[in-house]
Symmetry: C2
Subunit: 447 residues, 2 copies
């Protein structure tokens, strides 16, 4: 594929179909190894589902996208893939309408898939599921479009305003291994106390050069997590630190923690659940509050911003419906003086590349982006993305600038095929029950 | 220019420079005939200055843009054109930074060019001037980029979501001719009372098919303008009507007019000046208030939206810094439940095409867009854009889909060259003094 033009009627080629026309979409669900990382809901499963989207065009380009791979996402992705065949990869503004049309009757769309407000993404709705699915298609379309024109994805978004994107170390309480020895082993060992967290942070810094550190909290009682943050502050004086209890705390607990950590935290992330509770906390502290729980769609912004409930939104292109919507979110945040950072869930290199392209185009991105990528030892790319000094260079190759490794993809898909259903739907509480049969998803506030 | 690819290193061509690289920018100020249209500041001059921007790339494309042509805009456009040579047409996110850098010391940038809050665009600042100038460059870059890839500008903005864009008839109180017989004659005659306005509206409807009617007010005492709107309502029952006094009224006058016109107006546009006064009016009426005066930059949104001062923002890509920023404005408005329509100042076909492309991509555009275009009998295109049933079809040709007529451009530029300075800077109050030597720009509120 050597740079054909996109002209429909005339041009380099003589196809009747425009080079941008989608001729095929391949969906490949995979299961990816995930370490036993703890959060307030439970623990990561040994394997987590992801969906790899390949959009092929008449011009011979194949673009890559990636999104959640749970059954309820696949149920939306399949009809959406069918509906997009024959349309141009450039027709991105139509994606929400098409997704709503083809998914109108899916169980997910009718609300049958709703989960509680304690979910790690707040209340899950059919609309949120659709946005997550179409984000994978949007990224794949942009990748294909970029390849067809020789332009990097960031150029299709108006061009990069920085040459590198800073990422943050994502620290987790974790076990040395999954219960019963399931999953893929690693050599990180357990991290269940301040010393363990500091050791984990040191390894992240030494290996990747990360300067910012985020601790996933909501796992242990607040005093224990506050002690871990203070240990990080002592070990890495002056480095930006964050703590994310995933909404597990009450308003008083959040306010107490904010007071105790005000001098060392860059921001406190989702200490408590719901916009109303976040607003109460925000009113009682000068520490900025960040969220990827109470503001994850445009519909949730108005109340949160007018109540000054959050000072930083953690964008996630999977949540917000793609890279272009992420840029719109950034515009809304700029307009209202709300900061922007970037959230991450378990993901592979395709999504990391997508995050890097869009982050490169957003003016005023003051915070390092979160990423789980170092925890994912498996990928579907020929070459892993490599952090240097805690950052990724912004790719200038056409499209996303990543290449699919079909053997690796096939191997991870084979694992998905062989799975008996245990891991095809991520369920951190179910994974926790492998260690603690009595475990139920905690009600919030937990503390 | 037959669809070369944009690849930098390899591809269809063998240029060392990428086809997207800007090789030359030509700036051509013109003077365009303008009828004696009245507004609260005075009257349109016989000729109004516009600037035509041509961006030529290494790939052989020449993109067109258009913006204000007054001296203070030209003073910014010239160094910006110099700074953009050698950069890619895709590098649009960098435009605000580059414009700020190269214009940092211009008189306009230092605030020397500020005008009063009574200006038709609210308070004019250096930042607003820069945005208006760079909008012309952004449109020209998009046009060139579209030509290089065979894609219409709307596709570069993510694709059209409608095939036609509705426009509104823009009714003006006007004289039959300019004072002293200056300027170019036309056959519209005077319109200074309800009958004249209704006759004007009929001609607009019969000629162009417009279904929405906007009356530029703030010219006569409110009762006279309210009578004209009621005459329109009687002549065109059920048609959307708007009245725009350009901020000339007090809060009590605005509230009284809102009560009297509530049953016939689609919205009331800028009845009074400043966000605070608009908020007072909005609190006292159910009639939606629209603005292109108190909200013309992102910095002005937060106060206006949180105070619910405006229910519709009239976007203008010249004001907001281009088509991509206009889409961001639309996203902010959607997020806050604020409607979007489109403002127009005296403009030619290049800007009308640009308006049409961006309007085609914005979901939920419920209001017909304003346009002065029917009042401009002169243009720089080989073919005028033609309204059918009050709408323009969305062009699917590469780029903007318009072609420059160099002879017409040269003729309008020759008029600018020959001008002794009288018309190079639009000044509606000065134009009014040709008829009324005692005229001064009215203070607001005027009524």
């Amino acid at each position: 594929m050597d740079g054909p033009c996109l002209r429909t009627q005339t041009g380099c080629g003589s196809q009747k179909r425009a080079p941008t026309t989608i001729t095929a979409i391949r969906l490949t669900p995979v299961l990816v190894a995930d370490p036993p990382l703890l959060n307030t809901q439970g623990v990561h499963q040994p394997y987590t589902p992801r969906l790899i989207v390949e959009v092929t065009t008449a011009g011979g380009a194949t673009g890559l996208g990636e999104t959640y791979g749970d059954t309820k996402y696949l149920d939306i992705a399949r009809p959406l893939a069918d509906a997009l065949a024959g349309r141009p990869v450039t027709d991105l503004n139509a994606l929400p309408r098409i997704a709503a049309e083809v998914c109108g009757d899916s169980p997910a769309a009718t609300g049958a898939g709703d989960v509680t407000a304690a979910g790690l993404r707040g209340v899950q709705t059919a609309g949120k599921l659709r946005l997550s699915v179409l984000s994978g298609f949007e990224v794949a379309c942009l990748d294909a479009w970029g390849q067809l024109t020789g332009l990097p994805v960031h150029a299709l978004l108006g061009g990069k305003v920085r040459d590198r994107v800073d990422y943050s170390a994502y620290l987790f309480y974790r076990w040395a291994a999954h219960p019963g020895g399931r999953g893929e082993p690693d050599d990180w060992g357990a991290a269940l106390d301040p010393d363990g967290i500091v050791a984990q942070a040191r390894r992240f810094r030494d290996t990747y050069g990360f300067r910012s550190f985020k601790l996933k909290g909501g796992v242990f009682e607040p005093a224990r997590e506050i002690a871990a943050v203070r240990a990080l502050a002592a070990a890495f004086p002056g480095h930006p630190l964050r703590l994310d209890p995933n909404g597990a705390w009450s308003v008083p607990t959040s306010l107490k923690a904010a007071r105790e950590l005000q001098d060392v935290l860059e921001y406190l992330e989702d200490p408590t659940s719901t916009t109303g509770h976040m607003a109460e906390v925000a009113a009682g502290t000068d520490l900025p509050l960040a969220t990827n729980m109470c503001v994850t769609t445009f519909d949730e912004i108005r109340e949160a911003f007018t109540r000054d409930a959050v000072q930083v939104v953690l964008a996630d292109h999977h949540y917000w419906g793609g890279l272009r919507s992420t840029r719109e979110l950034a515009a809304v945040c700029r307009t209202f003086g709300v900061g922007l950072a970037m959230h991450s869930n378990t993901h592979l290199g395709i999504s990391l590349a997508a995050m890097t392209h869009v982050a490169a185009t957003v003016p005023g991105l003051r915070y390092a982006c979160d990423t789980h990528y170092p925890w994912q030892t498996e990928d579907v790319l020929t070459e892993r993305l490599a952090f240097t000094d805690g950052a990724l260079p912004v790719p200038d190759a056409p499209g996303l600038g990543v290449t699919l490794d079909r053997e690796r993809l096939a191997a991870l898909h084979a694992r998905w095929l062989a799975d008996d259903g245990t891991f095809r739907d991520r369920d951190d509480a179910a994974a926790m029950r492998a260690a603690d049969p009595e475990w139920v998803t905690p009600r919030v506030p937990r503390w």
